[in-house]
């Protein structure tokens, strides 16, 4: 109960701050509109208002505060505007509609999941190689690290162009960008996990004259699962970012990234913000789902975290 109260307090504080921020952010637009509609505004001309600070304008035109939360195309939309837009584009639209966020969300989700699967598979394979081969440890790991220092926003268009030129388009290029972001946490976590059995455990297997593959399946792999799950949670969120970024440079017509892009072309800030929130909610759901699977699996394995 105490926890819920604390959480609600934080949420309330964020929303209050958000509403407060809308006032100075949107005041100029509101006043310009009001002037055109014939209301008395101080100062009277747009030129004079441009030289004044936002807070000063709020102080001299307190009547306009309410309007800063109700503009059509505000610089910063108010929380309830985003909430209404989210409601309209999810619950009130048919899923097949091009304006439904559910429709766009599932386009992005399918690329995310495919990319996540590719990235996780690749990450696990690389980790197995790195743990068992010193050469791979020294040759692959540095490249894996370097790969993550390149901004994905710079790399994504190149990946898409290169793949397009060899005839690959559709979901796969997005999934590959997704995989590019998600394989790294899996490699790092899995390497650590596969190396987590202590000397005693490894010595014990040695006394049984166990082979490397027996050691892998019976000891290393089960021991690595808690580490793997921690990495998967980071990986799935990174996958979603990858899929969205992959939609930006292609001028894709569907997906949360396309929705973001279209919103920014037409100055539809409410649409941008609702797409952002949709992405955040999707990421939270995916991470929560993984958390649930993690709890079930580790509990069954007697390693509840």
């Amino acid at each position: 109960m105490k926890n819920i109260l604390a959480v609600l307090t934080v949420v309330a504080a964020i929303i209050a701050f958000w509403y407060a921020a809308c006032v100075p952010m949107n005041i100029k637009g509101v006043l310009d509109q009001a002037e055109r509609a014939g209301a008395t505004v101080t100062p009277a001309t747009a030129k004079e208002r441009r030289d004044m600070g936002s807070f000063g304008l709020v102080a001299t035109n307190t009547f306009a505060i309410a309007d800063t939360w109700a503009q059509d195309r505000p610089r910063l939309p108010a929380p309830h505007q985003v909430a209404v837009e989210l409601w309209k584009t999810t619950v009130e639209k048919k899923i097949t509609s091009k304006r439904s966020l559910i429709y766009h969300g599932q386009v992005t989700l399918s690329a995310t999941l495919l990319g996540f699967a590719i990235g996780t598979g690749l990450g696990i394979l690389l980790a197995v190689g790195i743990v068992h081969s010193k050469v791979m440890d020294m040759s692959v790991m540095p490249w894996a690290i370097v790969s993550q220092t390149i901004p994905i926003i710079a790399l994504a268009p190149m990946i898409i162009v290169v793949l397009y030129s060899i005839g690959v388009q559709g979901i796969l290029p997005k999934a590959i960008i997704s995989a590019y972001l998600s394989f790294f946490p899996v490699v790092v976590g899995m390497v650590k996990g596969l190396r987590s059995p202590d000397h005693m455990q490894l010595d014990l297997l040695k006394t049984y004259n166990a082979s490397t593959s027996q050691g892998f399946w019976k000891l290393r792999l089960p021991s690595s699962l808690p580490y793997l799950f921690a990495s998967l949670k980071i990986g799935i969120a990174a996958s979603l970012v990858g899929a969205i970024v992959g939609e930006l440079p292609t001028g894709a017509v569907a997906g949360l990234g396309a929705r973001l892009l279209a919103g920014s072309y037409y100055g539809q800030t409410v649409q941008i913000w609702s797409a952002l929130f949709a992405a955040a909610i999707l990421a939270a759901l995916l991470v929560a789902l993984l958390g649930l699977i993690e709890r079930l699996v580790l509990k069954r394995m007697g390693m509840s975290a």
């Binding site: 040695k206 006394t207 049984y208 027996q214 000891l219 089960p222 069954r300 394995m301 007697g302």
Partner: protein, 270 residues
């Protein structure tokens, strides 16, 4: 193997023979002589304790027997083979200070681990698990998970795991070191019974003088820097040993000799 007709003949058969064994670890602070000129013979059916302060090489010697470390010079044979060959023939079970059971396996499945690795059939696995669980008095606990068992029971399960395959040498590295004294007494008593029933050869590393004297037919006293054997005491205690034998004069005399040996080893590094 020819004259196994009398127990005396079989008990004098050498299982482990170490001759002029030396082991030097290269560390960042220079070489460390972990074992120096170690000569020791362990006969079949012996219960040999290795006792001495930290760094005396008792664990190292056990690990050399198990081919987990390799000597720098000298020779050692286990069942007439090199330790590596003996390992491939599954000559020994090893028990570490921590039970080291897999948390994701039940007790029975933990005991099956070496059997799976060595390729025993399913029926054979089940039969052996039942056998060794009975041997360590854990029948009925096979379906439990390690976290459901006390520390002493976990250690018994790890002993069962080492007994599950047919190793005739059991190497134990301070197996009861992490347990309290009451549990330890109980496990010592059980271990002796188990030894009597199975006729295994046991190498046992310990810090405790009473434990060493109570359990062993042969006590190897070691001292550090360099790790070496300072005394080998053949116990005169009977094979049948109730716990109160520890109050007998004979027991006290042997314990005294062990203490003397430990002190002698210490005096020359002062």
């Amino acid at each position: 193997m020819t004259n196994e007709t009398t127990p005396q003949a079989s008990s004098s058969q050498a299982v482990v023979e170490a001759r002029d064994l030396n082991l030097v670890f290269e560390t960042n602070d220079g070489p460390v002589q972990a074992l120096k000129d170690v000569n020791l013979t362990i006969n079949k059916g012996d219960f040999v304790s290795f006792i001495g302060p930290s760094g005396c090489g008792k664990t190292t010697f056990l690990r050399v027997m198990a081919a987990l470390e390799h000597p720098t010079s000298g020779s050692i044979t286990v069942n007439g083979m090199t330790p590596d060959e003996a390992r491939q023939k599954r000559a020994y079970g090893y028990v570490f200070q921590a039970a080291g059971l897999y948390p994701w396996r039940s007790i029975a499945k933990n005991i099956k681990l070496p059997l799976e690795i060595m390729g025993y059939s399913k029926e054979e696995q089940d039969k052996r698990v039942a056998q060794v669980l009975d041997l360590v008095e854990l029948s009925g606990f096979g379906g439990k998970y390690p976290w459901q068992l006390s520390g002493g029971m976990q250690q018994r399960a790890s002993i069962a795991r080492a007994l599950a395959f047919d190793a005739d040498i059991l190497l134990m590295d301070e197996p009861f070191g992490a347990l309290d004294e009451i549990v330890r007494d109980h496990l010592n008593e059980q271990l002796l019974k188990l030894w009597a029933r199975t006729d295994k050869t046991i190498g046992f590393v310990t810090h405790s003088i009473p434990e060493a004297v109570y359990l062993s037919t042969k006590i190897v006293v070691m001292s550090p820097r360099p790790g070496r054997i300072t005394d080998v005491i053949e116990s005169t205690l009977p094979k049948e040993r109730p716990l109160d034998i520890r109050d007998s004069q004979e027991f006290i005399d042997i314990a005294h000799r062990v203490r003397e040996g430990l002190r002698a080893g210490h005096s020359d590094d002062a």
